[in-house]
């Protein structure tokens, strides 16, 4: 997950800046105050936050947007302090960040993450079936040459392949460490790139690496005919999309708000996410318009 790859120091600095600049706002929410919807700093998060925001607006809630706020190091303290009220989270990543054990079981992952977050005044509403996990991706040619469909298939050939991922990958349990411990994979070489960004994509396209760390919902995988290897031994935890919201706000607005957000989560699928990501990342479409279109198609707003 993109959420896993970050640097705490940058987060701390940005977080501090945010706290300093936003000083004074963020008193307790009451019925009638706008709901402050935030997102992480990548397209998928912005799109889902827009879905929440526009879904709320369609039901006559006042909304304030703080999109593209930053990474989890920035967003989590802002949520705890009430600078923001609602953000699309990922169960496994937020659980890992809160220090709970990660598992591939969506229900258990959500439960443990929610319990930990509630101690900080933030709850997780019902999770969506849509997930966005770490993906280990090869080109169609590599997949055909070595007969690869699952991560286990890499075992006999890993020693001939070059693995590319973010610089922190060798030290991360959900990256190279996990691949070594869970799958016993020892690649010929590791190349430091970026967190599933343009550098990693270019490196896989150009053949400088054989196996890339991307995210399952990235549209580029299908667009380039790449093969996302199935995590058959369950290294990656469940990463269901879930609204993380301040408990004060839930109390102030009550069940109507929860029902609305639950229905949005329920309607969102992994296929939707992948399609929305592709259109935002590759076709450069506006996340707000994509969100509006999704809400219309799914009957949450009228045309």
């Amino acid at each position: 997950m993109r959420r896993v790859f970050r640097s705490r120091a940058v987060g701390a600095i940005l977080g501090l800046a945010l706290v300093v600049t936003a000083c004074g706002s963020g008193d307790g929410a009451t019925d009638g105050d706008p709901i402050k919807v935030a997102s992480f700093n990548f397209n998928e998060s912005v799109i889902v936050a827009e879905i929440y925001a526009q879904g709320l607006e369609a039901n006559e809630y006042a909304v304030e947007r703080q999109l593209n706020l930053g990474n989890r190091e920035v967003v989590k303290p802002a949520l705890e302090d009430g600078e923001i009220d609602l953000v699309p989270e990922y169960t496994g990543s937020v659980g890992g960040f809160l220090g709970v054990e990660q598992t591939a079981d969506s229900q258990v992952m959500w439960d443990t993450a929610r319990t930990a977050f509630e101690e900080l005044g933030v709850t997780l509403l019902a999770f969506s079936p849509a997930q966005d996990k770490n993906a280990y991706v090869v080109t169609a040619e590599t997949a055909a040459e070595f007969g690869l469909t699952t991560v286990s298939d890499l075992q006999p050939v890993a020693g001939e392949l070059i693995f590319g991922g973010p610089p922190e990958c060798p030290e991360r349990p959900l990256c190279l460490q996990g691949l070594e411990e869970v799958y016993g994979l020892e690649f010929a070489e590791f190349v430091s790139l970026d967190a599933a960004g343009p550098i990693t994509i270019a490196a896989l396209e150009g053949g400088e690496i054989d196996v890339a760390t991307l995210f399952t919902t990235q549209g580029i995988i299908a667009a380039n005919g790449w093969v996302s290897l199935e995590d058959d031994m369950g290294l990656n935890p469940a990463e269901n999309l879930v609204p993380a919201i301040r408990m004060e706000v839930v109390e102030a607005y009550g069940d109507d708000l929860v029902t609305l957000l639950d229905s949005l989560s329920e309607a969102l699928t992994t296929e939707d996410l992948t399609d929305l990501n592709r259109r935002a990342d590759i076709d450069q479409e506006d996340p707000a318009l994509l969100a509006a279109e999704w809400l219309t198609t799914n009957g949450f707003i009228e045309e």
């Binding site: 790859f5 640097s7 973010p166 610089p167 070489e189 790139l193 270019a202 490196a203």
Partner: protein, 228 residues
């Protein structure tokens, strides 16, 4: 783990001393790209700068160039040239984008110092040389260039030290060099790796600085040397 322990751990790791991520490989990459950037920038900007200095024009251009050079962020040039070059078929991990950014960084101080240096030669001295019957070429090679050599070398020295410090950015677009240790150390929260990388870049810049001071002394005409 204290900072010193993490430095010790990094320095005692065999991968630090041999293999594709060793200090020797990273140091070598860093030096050759820095030297190449300064040499290419020199070939590109020194001839026009020398000519502009000789005809005593272009001080406005020189000022503008150095100001633009200060304002344009190296990281911006690096990111743009990376994306453009990859589109054109360059491989990730190849040094071309880094070279473009470093050439753009090295050019302004060399250009400006060369123009300013030649124009700073006393006009009466140049006239005197012409009066003695020297051709324009002889005036340039025998009078203007030697007399302006300290300032020209100063421009190259500034460029080289800046380039060594800035080549660390290359690691952000998947190239090597000593910046690899800084970027990877930061991402992995491996203080030892980060500190060793930063210190090596600093040492390299200092060595370049002193090396160039020595070259500057040697290339300064005897008559211009200040007694020490």
């Amino acid at each position: 783990m204290t900072v010193w322990e993490s430095v010790g751990e990094f320095l005692s790791d065999p991968d630090t001393w041999s293999g594709p991520d060793s200090i020797w490989v990273r140091l070598g990459e860093h030096i050759w790209v820095s030297v190449a950037a300064v040499v290419i920038a020199g070939v590109l900007v020194l001839p026009p700068a020398i000519w502009l200095g000789h005809i005593r024009r272009g001080s406005d251009i020189a000022t503008a160039v150095v100001n633009i050079g200060r304002a344009v962020p190296s990281f911006g040039i690096l990111a743009i040239s990376f994306l453009v070059l990859v589109q054109m078929g360059a491989g990730v991990g190849e040094p071309w984008a880094v070279l473009v950014a470093l050439i753009a960084l090295a050019a302004p101080p060399m250009f400006t110092n060369t123009i300013a240096g030649i124009q700073a030669v006393e006009p009466s001295t140049v006239e005197c040389a012409r009066g003695m019957g020297l051709t324009e070429r002889e005036v340039l090679a025998g009078v203007e260039l030697p007399l302006s050599m300290p300032l020209i070398m100063e421009g190259i020295r500034i460029a080289f030290v800046q380039v060594i410090a800035t080549a660390t950015l290359g690691a952000l677009v998947a190239w090597g060099g000593l910046g690899r240790y800084i970027v990877d150390g930061f991402a992995r929260q491996d203080m030892g790796r980060l500190i060793v990388g930063a210190v090596l870049v600093g040492l390299l810049a200092i060595v370049a600085e002193f090396g160039f001071s020595a070259i500057q002394r040697v290339t300064t005409p005897r008559g211009l040397r200040v007694a020490r």
